[in-house]
């Protein structure tokens, strides 16, 4: 029963990680870019949300309604101002640029919000739970998982069935061929990053409701997102979703074995997958 409980908690935790991982999988799939400030953007959005909620007494839903468009705008600006200049076959410029941005953001947040941990007041929703098959499940984690599933499903539909999705997939397969067919890669990239960071708006609200956030937390979120993407298999959005579940379960079981072992268990599962199945658990072998 205890292990079943860990499994359930792990899947719920995976719902949280999926919200970070989707954006990363999308950006890498389209541009072969990893945004090192990915986690710091979640923290920045969380802290903005918390400050708005405390200043104006907003409910979490209102914060979400404000944060997601703000995140979309941030993603678009990030692409226009930084990423469009560094996208290319050489990974160095994009890594260095977003690395510098990450250092600057972390320290800027440290100055504005200090090193304290904060959380978003959820007006009781964070402590509610229901009993399912003998296991107590938090209402909030269930909502997080449901939203993560909906986001993954929605992104998958968009990629498969819309004009934007087709343009995205074309640009990720071959930029030059795509631009010959009338696709403007810069515009496609800007939209992709806007969507990827927009999803982080959801992640920011749920992260700050579920637990606490502090300015130095960003790199950990980046690493979890990355591990989920690699475990699941690169490219596919459902791969990132399932990878998040595997990572969440590994961490939850690790925490049950020893509290100091939880995060490490996740890292070890990642390294194990990399050693035995480098294309990811759900990815197709490319060679």
């Amino acid at each position: 029963m205890e292990w079943f409980d860990a499994l359930v908690q792990g899947i719920l935790l995976g719902g949280m990680y999926a919200q970070y991982a989707l954006g990363m999988a999308l950006m890498f799939g389209v541009m072969r870019i990893v945004n090192i400030s990915h986690g710091d953007l979640v923290i920045l959005l969380s802290l903005i949300g918390i400050s708005m909620a405390t200043a104006w007494g907003l409910a979490p839903v209102s914060v979400l309604i404000i944060l997601v468009p703000l995140a979309v705008l941030m993603g678009w600006v990030l692409q226009k101002a930084v990423l469009n200049r560094v996208v290319g076959s050489d990974p160095l410029p994009s890594l260095i640029a977003t690395f510098g941005l990450s250092i600057a953001l972390q320290n800027l947040m440290l100055q504005i919000w200090s090193a304290n941990s904060r959380s978003l007041p959820g007006h009781g929703i964070e402590s509610q739970s229901i009993e399912i098959a003998g296991v107590y499940v938090g209402v909030l984690p269930l909502i997080v998982l449901a939203v993560a599933t909906a986001l993954t499903w929605g992104l998958d539909i968009v990629l498969k069935h819309t004009r934007f999705g087709r343009a995205l997939r074309a640009a990720s397969a071959d930029v030059e061929a795509a631009s010959m067919t009338g696709i403007n890669p810069r515009a496609v990239y800007a939209l992709a990053t806007a969507v990827a960071v927009g999803i982080l708006g959801f992640a920011a609200v749920f992260q700050s409701l579920r637990s606490t956030v502090a300015p130095a937390d960003g790199p950990a979120q980046l690493i979890y997102a990355f591990e989920a993407v690699i475990i699941g298999g690169m490219g596919a959005v459902w791969g990132a979703f399932l990878g998040s579940m595997v990572l969440g379960i590994a961490q939850a079981i690790g925490f049950r074995i020893d509290p100091g072992f939880g995060v490490l268990a996740g890292h070890l599962v990642f390294l194990f997958v990399l050693a035995t199945r480098p294309q990811g658990l759900f990815g197709k072998a490319t060679t």
């Binding site: 090192i36 990974p91 160095l92 410029p93 890594l95 640029a97 250092i103 790199p219 100091g260």
Partner: protein, 342 residues
């Protein structure tokens, strides 16, 4: 192909010129600098020696990162894994097993060398930018393992109490020699490597890995060797740095700050050149002394500078200088001179 055949004797008699006047001056200054570092106990206070030791560690770590990112195309943000691993190995060997600490510094280098081999075999499977985050995960794994291992005193860290068996002067002498040796190994070794025939392969790889491979350069093998060499170089810097600190904890040993330092120094100074590393290290060292007190603001500026260099001036300061004046400090070009035609 139309055959334009030359008889073996028709090869013009040329001399290969490797050194330049600027190179001779710089080489003299560099050797004088290393000697000055080696004899520090006879001219500098303990405080100055500590500062110069930190500067030497910056130069060593930055040069190792430069070899990785600048030549091998492996952008690592986790070299602190090897610094911490060697640092911890030194503390365990010297403090727990009672081996002479100055001998243990060299023995501890085996740890990063041995760890780097399987890690590279794992990490090289990751594509481009994902490799970088993979190296970071490895550093995190090392930190968490050390936080849980009883033999390294888990999260509480270790102290190098055996150092009190040596007088302050003896320690200063050892530190100065270790620093001089480290500079000789990392900077001198890199220069030697770049001037050798491997250097030609490395420069070809830096400019275009695919074209280099088509010319017979074994890119995969060279990348592997550079990764291991860089792990050992960073390990040496880590062992020396933590020996001077006398204390090591999982948080300090695997501090991602070292990745910031290396990236800032190399990017601002100029990637793919030894001169850039020296310029960048000096700038960072001075900036750290003058503005370190500003804490977070200082790091915001540092981060933004790294971002701006990546966006607008990828060759860094040395790139801007060498565009204007052709006076390399560490010339690696081969220039053919025909003695019959002055």
């Amino acid at each position: 192909m139309s055959a334009v055949s030359y008889a073996a004797t028709a090869v013009p008699e040329v001399q290969v010129q490797r050194q330049t006047p600027s190179g001779r001056i710089a080489m003299t200054l560099a050797l004088a600098g290393i000697v000055a570092v080696a004899v520090m106990p006879w001219w500098a206070s303990t405080g100055t020696i500590r500062s110069i030791l930190v500067l030497c560690c910056y130069i060593a770590v930055a040069q190792m990162w430069n070899l990785l990112a600048g030549y091998a195309g492996l952008v690592s943000v986790g070299q602190q894994a090897f610094m911490g691993a060697a640092g911890y190995a030194l503390f365990v060997l010297a403090q727990t097993f009672g081996i002479n600490p100055f001998l243990a510094v060299f023995l501890s280098l085996l740890v990063p060398a041995v760890l780097a081999v399987p890690l590279y075999l794992l990490l090289h499977r990751l594509d481009g930018p994902y490799f970088s985050i993979g190296t970071w995960v490895v550093a995190e794994v090392f930190r968490l393992v050390c936080s849980n291992l009883p033999i390294v005193n888990a999260g509480a860290g270790m102290s190098l109490r055996v150092m009190k068996d040596y007088s302050a002067f003896e320690r200063n002498v050892a530190m100065s020699w270790l620093c001089a040796g480290m500079l000789l190994l990392t900077v001198g070794g890199s220069y030697w490597l770049l001037r050798s025939r491997y250097g030609l392969a490395l420069i070809a790889m830096r400019d275009n890995p695919v074209a280099a491979a088509s010319q017979g350069v074994n890119v995969a093998k060279l990348r592997f060797l550079i990764y291991v060499a860089s792990a050992v170089g960073c390990g040496l810097a880590g062992a020396i740095y933590f020996m001077a600190q006398l204390r090591i904890t999982p948080g300090s040993a695997f501090d991602p700050m070292w990745a910031n330092v290396a990236i800032f120094i190399v990017m601002v100074g100029g990637i793919g050149s030894i001169e850039g590393v020296l310029i960048g290290a000096l700038i960072f060292f001075i900036a750290d002394r003058w503005f370190g007190a500003y804490g977070a603001t200082y790091f915001v500026v540092l981060g933004l500078m790294t971002l701006l260099v990546a966006l607008y001036a990828r060759t860094g300061i040395w790139g801007l200088i060498s565009k204007r004046w052709d006076a390399p400090w560490f010339p690696i070009r081969r220039k053919l001179v025909d003695p019959n035609r002055p």
